[in-house]
Every structure is written in structure tokens, then in C-alpha cells.
């Protein structure tokens, strides 16, 4: 056991509770944490991939996921889940988190009023899985100087006044979340602050109870004594009494149960939480206070005397040398006025001595002796990764393969017509590029998308062909105007040969070739064409590089495949434009005898 949280603890925050997350990050900044305490946000209905938060004067991006499993996979070291789901969904969120093996050590549940039966199941499942549940119905907890949950401690000013910015020597456990700050403040004024504090939650059934927290604090050498604030109702305090009597807990405990007022009113008035109702004498606050005092805990005469009791115990421990002077740490200050950034850039940076591509200075990638080719530059700027040579060679192969396909295709034709109209290189290039889309160049995207879709779902080649027929779609990447089995496309042969020699594996290409066997058996020219081969091998490349299927789907949806075609074919278009300029060709006008005119008199309406 030992400390619940440290300065390295990171959490996944379930629900995009922006103000609470910002407070955590402000705290992190003030206490000089290395990594922000919130690693990721889970927001099932958000379409965003990240949220921006201030970190000091700057902003940082916190990634957003649609579910806990994805967030956990991306941040395997984030072992705290801050479950800020409503009482309707908090149970499901916790149960899912518990099933993610080896991920979460602590789950904090803030919702109040989770159905009791569900709360009991959740708490038991967590205990069985060795996961500490804080709550439900809690503001959370804090390890001062290390990790702070959500709104605990309130404002930064109050955190510093209450000495919650650095570890003191007291372990604090309360039922009331509303009095948590107050007690931290009392302990800061009358002693040296807290080392760890937990508000266990106000609902009738909470995950970790007083004894769980106090036993952990007993084993945490930072904690020298404990403050326990209980409440009328329940019998949890008696477990603590037993532990003190049996010697399981040896550190001094200062204890008080609130709700002594309840004895004056027979029934009907609910003083405090759902859990706060005395069903027997032993559950009254007065009875528990007496029992705790008899067990040897330090119990004040009334709540109003609690500060003095704390001061007495602390002074005693100071005099005995058990508690020593704390050296106050240097703190950073969060600026009062902060401005949000309008743009974000994650690929290159021009602020230093030399501009960089994904961290690589341009001079370190530009010249031949660096060993970087254009494929390397693309992998850095498009994918923010340094790809291995077999992959960058493949990217370059693709660009070279698609660079041009003669003057007759629509893009090249447009570029030539525009150049002949006297327009500049950029205008001419753009008119060419604008034709790239679903009918021209788009086959690369679609081939990758549909073949991957079929392969992901375990369709056989025959099922895939059947599926596409039912969808009423031709299979992108299959078929060529001229080329056939007997007259193969040598570009395709080259790509396949390269992949066979250099790719670690080509599962999607293998699948596509099985499809091709079936299609070519129907018609000789229904071969896997160059667009299909490029797209499919691109997927195989990404798989071999370790990307997840959803990453790859993301690349396809973002248009990354099309982008290779755009870059490659721009080379060809520019060639055609320069060709026109060089030849000094006149304005082009299409011959009227090549147009079928069929114009009728417009009807009057």
C-alpha cells in the first residue's frame, strides 16, 4: 500500500468537465508537475479528438476518446479513472473500467444517488478486482504536492492558504465533501497540513470506507497522524475502533462524528447525507464519539474544539520529533489573464534557430548525405513519424508511379487548356487538380476502403464480390481498359514485386489477389489495377508499421491516399503546363463539329 497518489499519477477523466479539469491542470502547473495529471478525457458524445486547456500561460491539448477502453489503450499508465458520469451511467462506467485488466488502481465516482443495489455491486466488483473506489457522492481526494482530484481544495488561493500544495503530515478522511476544504484549512492553521486526504462519499454504500483509508495511511510513512470526520448513521467507525484496539492502527487518530444534534429530534429530520440516519443507539454521533474516545482516539468535546485537539496532537508529535519542519517549496504562479490560441500546429515549428519537420531541423533531412529522401520528409510531415526505409521507398515508388499518365486524362487535359488560355502555372495546376475526385484518382481511396472493410469483417473473396454486387457498386481497384491477365500492367508487377521483397507481410494484397482470381475468371481484364494495388499496399504498409485499424481508417477518411496521388500527379501536370508554355501553343477552342447540339425552344411557364 502506501500513498494513494504520487506526483506521477495520471488520470483519465470521464466526462468533459472543463472547469474541473482546468483546475487540476492549474494545480499541476503551480506544484511543478512534470506531466499533466489528466492524460485523457472520455466523452462518448463528443466529436472532438482533443480539448485545449491552459497549462500556466500556454495551452496544451488533452486527447478525447469516445470510450474508456480506447483511452486506456492509449494511456496504459493512467491508473486513476475520475468517473464524472451522472447517477444514471456512473455504474456502467465503473464496471467497464474494472474489466480493463491491469489498468485502473483507483476509480473515483462523483455521482450522488446511484441505485443502492448497483452501488453495492459496483463496490464489490471493485474490491474483488483490487480496485479502490472513492465515492460515490464525493468531491474526491488529494495527495498534496502530487495529485489533486477535480474540484478538491477549491480555488488556487485557497489551496495555498490551506497548504494543499505540498505534503504535510496528517492523513484526512471525511464523509462530508463540503467540509473537506474546511478540515484541510483547520489542519493547515493548527498543524502543518495534510499528506493525503480522501472524502469517502455521502451515499449509503460507498466503495472505500474509513478503515480502508486509515489502514493505507497507517502504512504510508508520510502520514504521521490521522483526522477522521465521521457522521451520524452506520457503523463504519466501529471498524476503526477495532483496528485501534487491536493495534492494527498505531498512529494517533483525532476523530469526531458530526450530527450530535440528531438525538434531540425523534424522527423525520434528516441531518446530513443519505447515509446519515441512526437506526440504533450505536449509530448515533454521540455514542460513536464516546466509543472512539474510549478506544484511545483523540475526541474533542465538541466540533468547535476540534482545532485545539489537532493543535495539541501536532505539538506533541513535533516535540517528540516524529513530525519535523517542512521546507516550503517554490511555486509557480498561474497568470491572471490568459489568451486562447486560435491555431494549433503539431507537425513543424519555426520558432527556434532553425525550422523543424516533426522535430528534425530542415538541414538534417535536406541534403543527400543525411540519407533522408522525399519519402522520409512525407512521413515526418504527414504522419509525424520516422518510417523505416522499406516504407519510405514504397511512398516514393507510389509518387513516381502516379506522376503522369499522358495528356488525355481529364486533369492533364484541363491543365493544358488553362495553360493555353494564357494562365500561370498555379492556375493551370489547380484546374488539373480540381478534377481529382471520385472518378479520377479516387479509386486508390475506394480500393483501400472497400478491400479493408471486407478483410476486417472476415469476408471471403466470393462474399466480398457478392457484397459489392448487392451494394450496386463496381469494385474499385479492379479492372483496366486495356491491360489483362495475358497483357499485365508492368507498374502493378513492379509494385507487387517490391512488396513481396520488402514488406514484412501483405495480408490485404493477398486477399485482393484472391479476389482478382475470381474476377478475372469472369472477364480477362478484371485485374487488380495500379490504383487498387497502391491503395491496398498502403494499408499493408500501415499495418506492418503497427498502426491500429482505426488509425488506418482515419488516414483513409482524411484523404491521405488521395494526397499521394495529388503530390505525384502534380509533377505530371506541371510538366504538361511547362510543355504548353515551351511550345507557345495558342488559345484552344473546341471544334463545334465535335459537339452534339440538341437545343429546343424553352417552354414558357
Amino acid at each position: 500500500m502506501g500513498a494513494l497518489f504520487t506526483k506521477d499519477t495520471q488520470a483519465i477523466f470521464w466526462n468533459n468537465n472543463a472547469s474541473a479539469i482546468q483546475r487540476m491542470l492549474d494545480y499541476d502547473y503551480v506544484i511543478n508537475r512534470v506531466k499533466p495529471s489528466v492524460a485523457a478525457i472520455v466523452a462518448p458524445t463528443s466529436g472532438n479528438k482533443f480539448e485545449k486547456f491552459f497549462y500556466g500561460a500556454d495551452e496544451i491539448m488533452v486527447p478525447v476518446f469516445r470510450n474508456t477502453a480506447e483511452a486506456a489503450a492509449a494511456f496504459p499508465k493512467a491508473d486513476v479513472l475520475l468517473n464524472f458520469a451522472s447517477f444514471r451511467t456512473a455504474y456502467d462506467v465503473t464496471m467497464e473500467a474494472i474489466t480493463i485488466k491491469g489498468q485502473f488502481k483507483t476509480v473515483m465516482v462523483t455521482a450522488e444517488g446511484i441505485p443502492e443495489r448497483l452501488a453495492r455491486k459496483m463496490n464489490q466488483a471493485a474490491r474483488d478486482a483490487g480496485v479502490v473506489v472513492i465515492g460515490p457522492a464525493t468531491v474526491g481526494g488529494i495527495a498534496p504536492g502530487g495529485f489533486k482530484i477535480a474540484n478538491v481544495g477549491g480555488t488556487i488561493e485557497n489551496i495555498i492558504n490551506s497548504k494543499l500544495h505540498r505534503a504535510g503530515s496528517c492523513g484526512l478522511v471525511t464523509r462530508s465533501g463540503g467540509l473537506f476544504n474546511e478540515l484541510s484549512n483547520i489542519i493547515a492553521i493548527n498543524a502543518d497540513g495534510i499528506a493525503e486526504g480522501v472524502a469517502i462519499g455521502g451515499d449509503r454504500f460507498v466503495g472505500s470506507v474509513f478503515i480502508d483509508n486509515l489502514l493505507r495511511m497507517e502504512s504510508n510513512p508520510e502520514v504521521k497522524y490521522m483526522v477522521l470526520l465521521g457522521e451520524v448513521g452506520g457503523t463504519e467507525e466501529y471498524k476503526v475502533i477495532e483496528a485501534v484496539k487491536s493495534g492494527l492502527i498505531k498512529k494517533p487518530i483525532i476523530a469526531w462524528c458530526i450530527g450530535t444534534i440528531a438525538k434531540h429530534f425523534s424522527s423525520g429530520v434528516q441531518f446530513g447525507h443519505a447515509g446519515a440516519s441512526a437506526n440504533a443507539d450505536a449509530e448515533t454521533a454521540a455514542f460513536k464519539n464516546t466509543a472512539m474516545a474510549e478506544a484511545g482516539m483523540f475526541v474533542p468535546a465538541s466540533f468547535n474544539d476540534l482545532p485545539k485537539t489537532i493543535a495539541d496532537v501536532y505539538t506533541k508529535l513535533r516535540n517528540e520529533g516524529i513530525v519535523t519542519e517542512i521546507i516550503e517549496p517554490e511555486l509557480k504562479t498561474v497568470p491572471k489573464v490568459r489568451r486562447k490560441k486560435e491555431f494549433i500546429c503539431t507537425i513543424s515549428d519555426d520558432r527556434g534557430d532553425e525550422a523543424t519537420y516533426a522535430g528534425y531541423p530542415i538541414s538534417s533531412v535536406a541534403t543527400p548525405e543525411t540519407g533522408f529522401g522525399i519519402g522520409d520528409v512525407i512521413s515526418l510531415l504527414w504522419f509525424k513519424k520516422r518510417y523505416p526505409k522499406w516504407a519510405t521507398d514504397y511512398l516514393e515508388t507510389v509518387i513516381k508511379t502516379v506522376a503522369d499518365h499522358g495528356p488525355a486524362v481529364s486533369g492533364a487535359h484541363n491543365a493544358k487548356v488553362t495553360a493555353r488560355a494564357g494562365k500561370d502555372v498555379i492556375s493551370s495546376l489547380v484546374t488539373g487538380l480540381l478534377t481529382i475526385g471520385p472518378r479520377f484518382g479516387g479509386a486508390i481511396d475506394d480500393a483501400a476502403r472497400y478491400f479493408k472493410y471486407a478483410n476486417d469483417r472476415g469476408m471471403t473473396p466470393a462474399e466480398f464480390i457478392d457484397y459489392m454486387k448487392k451494394e450496386g457498386k463496381t469494385i474499385s481497384g479492379i479492372g483496366h481498359r486495356i491491360k489483362s491477365v495475358r497483357n499485365p500492367d508492368l507498374r502493378v508487377s513492379g509494385l507487387k514485386k517490391y512488396a513481396a521483397e520488402h514488406f514484412p507481410a501483405t495480408p490485404l494484397l493477398d486477399f485482393a489477389l484472391e479476389v482478382e482470381k475470381l474476377t478475372t475468371s469472369k472477364k480477362d481484364n478484371l485485374i487488380l489495377n495500379v490504383d487498387g494495388t497502391i491503395g491496398i499496399l498502403m494499408v499493408d504498409m500501415w499495418r506492418a508499421l503497427g498502426y491500429s485499424e482505426s488509425d488506418i481508417d482515419g488516414f483513409i477518411e482524411a484523404g491521405a491516399l488521395n494526397a499521394f496521388f495529388v503530390v505525384g500527379r502534380s509533377i505530371g501536370f506541371i510538366g504538361h503546363i511547362l510543355d504548353e508554355k515551351r511550345l507557345g501553343m495558342p488559345m484552344y477552342r473546341h471544334p463545334t463539329d465535335d459537339i452534339l447540339y440538341n437545343v429546343e425552344m424553352a417552354d414558357e411557364i
Binding site: 443502492e116 453495492r120 474546511e182
Partner: protein
């Protein structure tokens, strides 16, 4: 409050709605009606499906959450001999009961308003069994006894078998456990039936989110089940999942509880419409010390401290809280309600009135904003507060508290009200000591 009692009628209606699903092999007639006066009962008897009210001997009793109705002589089952009560006699009896106040043996008193009427079920004592379930600690506990009725309460230890069922136990193990713990006194011919029913009863209790469910007695006549008396509490936090399953059961206030005052009702209504929390309970309208405390935990410690330090709990006039970031308007309404109540009666001993505006250090509530609402209420009530020699003690921390304290001090000074204000450097409840020592 999470666990709330429902009427016997509603409990039986829930049984009836789910009977086929849970209690296959058994029959339950659900011949029960609930009425609030004799004419309602007479009218009900004219409805299709309720002919039995005219045809069978009846039993009538109040359905208002309290028990021991037999001992309180509040079960009508005989006119001359058991099982001879007619519709008209039941209706007349009900009207007689609602006309006068009823005092129970426990001392609770009030007017009866709700009655349940059922057919008289002739049976012998040995056909009565007892069954109930509730939560003890973290586990469910099923209580089974071969003896039902009043018998079981005398000699509970010997007569009742307790079956402790952990929350995660699977159905097969539960069945095994119940079988192993069936009371020895159940006659052989009913044993299998009882075991089956106990299993079904537990699952029904569990799945329908009861917090407590007791049938005493349950009468088994072959496969016919007669639920003669039923007590039930629901876990109302599960209400959002159970709206249809619970047949719209109400959560009535306990019999004899004084109705809420108009002020308490108004605050409860404001609370239900707000995202913030507004609570008010009047403990003693003549009390000298009135509180306006932010936060649930703080409201408890202020009440504790006032009772401890004043030496007389009757000094404490109210209990309540406002928290969760109420708007200025909500705070103003809350403050006006408290100030109005506080300035209605002079202290009988002629002492000053004390107003405690307390609170712990807030997490996110803007203190200055909520104080703005209180200041607005001061403007309206300043003269009345002065007429009652009101002394105001303020203690609060949290976001923007310096401004809040400064504003409220300035306002009170301007209005000529006595005020002392303190921040987080002063112990949260110490203003109670200061107020009482002056």
C-alpha cells in the same frame, strides 16, 4: 433519503404487475382497493371487476405506513363474528374513522386518510408463514419463518431463519442456500412450494429494487397465495429505471408527521426546480437562533454546535442549507423566507435574535454572488430585523469570499444592522460561540 416506504396497496400492485414473470406456478388474485372515504368505496363496487366488494366479506384497514394496526384496533374484519363485514359496513366504518383524529398506542396522532379494502380470507393459524428481505451491511438477508402474524414477532430469534445473500451470489447458489435454510417447521406437503416461493420472492425483491419487503403473514392454500399484510420500502434512487415497474407508487409522509409549513413547501418547490440545493426544516418557530448555512456538512456542524453551546436545543429555530451554486435570485428567496420566519415572534425572554450566516470553504460556489441575494433580502427586512434586535454573524470562505464579506458588511452597516464577519482564518463554527457569549 434513499429508502422510502410505500403503501401496502402499492406494494401489492407491484406484486400483481410482475406476478406472472416471477411467481410461475402460484396464483395471486390481487383483490385490493384503496379509497379515501366511504363513498369512494361504494362507487368502486359498481365498477366492472370489483363485484367481489359486494359479494364477499371484507377486511378494511388504514394504509398509511404504520404497523400494529391489529393492536391499535384499526382492522375491521368483524361486525358480529369474523368474516361478516359488508360493503356498507366497511364504508360506514371508514367514514367514522376519517371524521376524528386517531391516536396510536405509540402516541403518534393524526387523521386517517387512506384505507385498503380486501376480501376476508378464512384460514387457520398453521397456514400462515412469514417472509421478508432487506439489506444488512453489504448483504441481502432473507428472513423465513413457519409462523406468521403476530406470533413471529414474539420469539423472533427461535422462529426465524436468516439467509444471508452476498450481492454477487449467482442464482444457483442462492437457490441452494435457501433450500438449506428452509425453516424446519414448514409442513412437508408445503416444503417444496415454500422453497420455490422464497426463491421467487427474493428475486422479485432484488430485481424490483426494494430496500425492504415483508409479507406477514403470507397464507398458502395449495398454490393460492394470499398476501394478508405487506410492508415495503423502495430504493428511490432506482426510480429512474423503475418508473413503469413501480406502478407509479407514491412515497407518502409518515402518519402523524406534521405537514410541512407553507415556507418549507415553498423552499422544497424551489429546490426541485433548481440545479442547486435548497433545504429548510423549521425546528422551533419561536427559536432564537436562525441559521442560513451553505453546504450539507456545514449545516450539520452548525446545528451540532448551537445545541452544544446554547445548552438548550429549543433555541435552534431551523435547520437547512443552500449549496451547489444557487443563483442570486434563489439565495434572495431563501434568505427572505428565513428572515420572514425569524421576525414573526419576539423572543419570549426578550433576548436578541441571532442570525448565523455560516458556511465552510466553498469548492466552486461564488460567495460574493450568493451574498448579493442575502444583501437584497436585508434591504427588505432591515427594519423588522432591527425590531427583533437581530445580531448577524457571518463566516464563509471560497471563491470570491473577500468581496462577499466586504459587501455584506457594508450593506449591514448602511442599513444599521449589527453584523460581525469572518473568513477562513476563523474556525467555521466559532461564530456560534461568539454570538452566544456576547
Amino acid at each position: 433519503m434513499a429508502q422510502r416506504a410505500i403503501r401496502e396497496y402499492d406494494g401489492k400492485a407491484i406484486f400483481s404487475k410482475h406476478w406472472e414473470k416471477y411467481f410461475s406456478g402460484f396464483h395471486y388474485g390481487f383483490k385490493s382497493v384503496m379509497v379515501t372515504n366511504g363513498d369512494e368505496l361504494r362507487a368502486k363496487a359498481q365498477e366492472h371487476g370489483f363485484e367481489w366488494l359486494k359479494q364477499e366479506a371484507l377486511v378494511a384497514k388504514p394504509d398509511m405506513l404504520f404497523g400494529k394496526r391489529g393492536k391499535n384496533d384499526l382492522v375491521l374484519f368483524r361486525t358480529n363474528k369474523p368474516g361478516d363485514v359488508t360493503l356498507e359496513e366497511a364504508a360506514t366504518w371508514i367514514d367514522a374513522k376519517i371524521a376524528n383524529e386517531t391516536i396510536l398506542l405509540s402516541g403518534q396522532k393524526g387523521t386517517l386518510t387512506h384505507f385498503i379494502i380486501e376480501p376476508f380470507t378464512p384460514h387457520s393459524q398453521d397456514q400462515e408463514y412469514y417472509i421478508s428481505a432487506t439489506t444488512v451491511g453489504e448483504d441481502d438477508v432473507l428472513y423465513l419463518s413457519a409462523e406468521g402474524g403476530m406470533e413471529v414477532e414474539e420469539g423472533w430469534e427461535e422462529k426465524v431463519n436468516e439467509v444471508t445473500i452476498p450481492i454477487t451470489m449467482d442464482d444457483a447458489s442462492i437457490a441452494h442456500l435457501i433450500r438449506a435454510n428452509v425453516p424446519a417447521g414448514i409442513p412437508t406437503e408445503n416444503k417444496e412450494r415454500f422453497i420455490t416461493f422464497a426463491e421467487q420472492f427474493y428475486k422479485f425483491y432484488r430485481d424490483q429494487n426494494f430496500a425492504y419487503l415483508e409479507i406477514n403473514p403470507i397464507v398458502m392454500v395449495g398454490n393460492d397465495m394470499h398476501i394478508l399484510d405487506l410492508v415495503a420500502r423502495l430504493d428511490d434512487t432506482a426510480g429512474f429505471m423503475m418508473a413503469d415497474a413501480w406502478c407509479g407508487a407514491e412515497f407518502p409522509t409518515a402518519f402523524g408527521m406534521e405537514d410541512q409549513s407553507p415556507e418549507e413547501k415553498a423552499i422544497a418547490e424551489a429546490d426541485s426546480k433548481s440545479g442547486a440545493s435548497l433545504k429548510l426544516t423549521i425546528l422551533n418557530p419561536m427559536g432564537r437562533i436562525w441559521t442560513m448555512v451553505a453546504g450539507g456538512g456545514a449545516s450539520v456542524v452548525y446545528a451540532d454546535t448551537i445545541a452544544d453551546l446554547s445548552g438548550n436545543v429549543a433555541d435552534l429555530a431551523n435547520y437547512g442549507e443552500y449549496s451547489g451554486g444557487p443563483t442570486t435570485g434563489e439565495t434572495k428567496f431563501y434568505a427572505e423566507t428565513v428572515l420572514d420566519l425569524m421576525t414573526r415572534h419576539k423572543d419570549p425572554k426578550g433576548r436578541d435574535k441571532i442570525l448565523i450566516i455560516g458556511g465552510a470553504i466553498a469548492n466552486f460556489t461564488d460567495v460574493a454572488k450568493t451574498f448579493t441575494g442575502i444583501i437584497q433580502a436585508f434591504e427588505t427586512y432591515a427594519e423588522r430585523m432591527k425590531a427583533h434586535n437581530t445580531r448577524i454573524y457571518v463566516r464563509r470562505g471560497g471563491p470570491n469570499y473577500e468581496k462577499g464579506l466586504k459587501d455584506i458588511k457594508e450593506a449591514a452597516d448602511r442599513l444599521g444592522l449589527y453584523i460581525e464577519v469572518y473568513g477562513p482564518e476563523t474556525h467555521v463554527t466559532d461564530i456560534v460561540r461568539m454570538a452566544l457569549e456576547k
